[in-house]
Symmetry: C2
DNA sequence: AGTGAAAACTTTGTACG
DNA sequence: CGTACAAAGTTTTCACT
């Protein structure tokens, strides 16, 4: 179910993924027209890609600033004798952690947070530091951001109005 | 159109965003049932959230390992006299850059890459270094990752099969 | 694995409280 | 800003190639 290495995919699967990547809500019928197939097989291909774990989910990008939230990254350096899976387990239990990455080298892990404000960020980072398995952290606060997936040229937190 | 700070949103908007965040393909009718409204106003609310810039896009999370790709972050430290918008403009022109973040403090920016392999990564990072505005870079290679948005418990690149 | 058509469901528009 | 219902479009399932 979850892919270890490259999967059996033809060029049509790749085009379907390319379309869905930049617009997860694109109708199957429109994808079908674009790749030159009818709707039925495209629906089955998408279902297959989901169950194979190639498609890991469909998410909506929400402007953190609009929701009154802050975005931050924290790099984690672990104590020498700690397995990365320990910090992964902890990260999973912290609801503010939006994404988790195991890193090859230094640091050992990278976490992306969504928090209400700087105090909230401080609380969350301190909670992770207090676990005892963390040798050090470095937190990067995001001022603005963009994502290649989004078609419109938003610039995140510091835009002119309307 | 693009939000500067918190927008006028009621608790129903927030619940709609919460549902779409974890499943961008959830039908409007199902969202309507969950929040206790009929489909029409939910559709109009989503349309409004899109045009206000609160919803910045719908993306599909694709397993990089399954597509035979590598994921990496590069921290950028800029030369002292350089505006962050310069590196943002460069990042936009590099198709391998998936996400861009302006950071408060050190480093100045964070880039997330999708590349075919380590050689490809090296090329892309060197291209950015050669622009002349970069004082230093540090690249973090992702070994495994997860995203809170995905409902299924995928663990990225190093899972047992099926 | 694809097509094409029918059935079920979803989205969108219009009228109205 | 909500509901209700009808029209248009989409997804899914079926028999068939």
């Amino acid at each position: 179910m979850l892919p270890l290495g490259k999967c059996a995919m033809d060029s049509i699967d790749e085009r379907i993924l390319g379309l869905l990547r930049t617009n997860a809500r694109m109708p199957v019928s429109e994808i079908a027209r674009t790749v030159g197939l009818s709707a039925a097989p495209v629906g089955r291909r998408i279902e297959r890609l989901e169950s194979e774990g190639v498609i890991r989910g469909y998410v909506t990008l929400v402007s953190d600033a609009a929701v009154g939230e802050l975005e931050a990254f924290t790099e984690i350096r672990l104590a020498g004798d700690v397995d990365t899976r320990e910090i992964e387990g902890i990260a999973r239990q912290v609801p503010e952690v939006q994404q988790y990455y195991t890193i090859a080298g230094d640091p050992d892990a990278l976490l992306r947070f969504r928090v209400r404000n700087v105090e909230h960020l401080q609380q969350v980072v301190n909670a992770i530091r207090r676990t005892g398995i963390v040798a050090g952290t470095k937190t990067l606060i995001v001022m603005s951001s963009w994502d290649r997936a989004q078609p419109f040229p938003s610039e995140g937190a510091h835009d002119k109005h309307t």
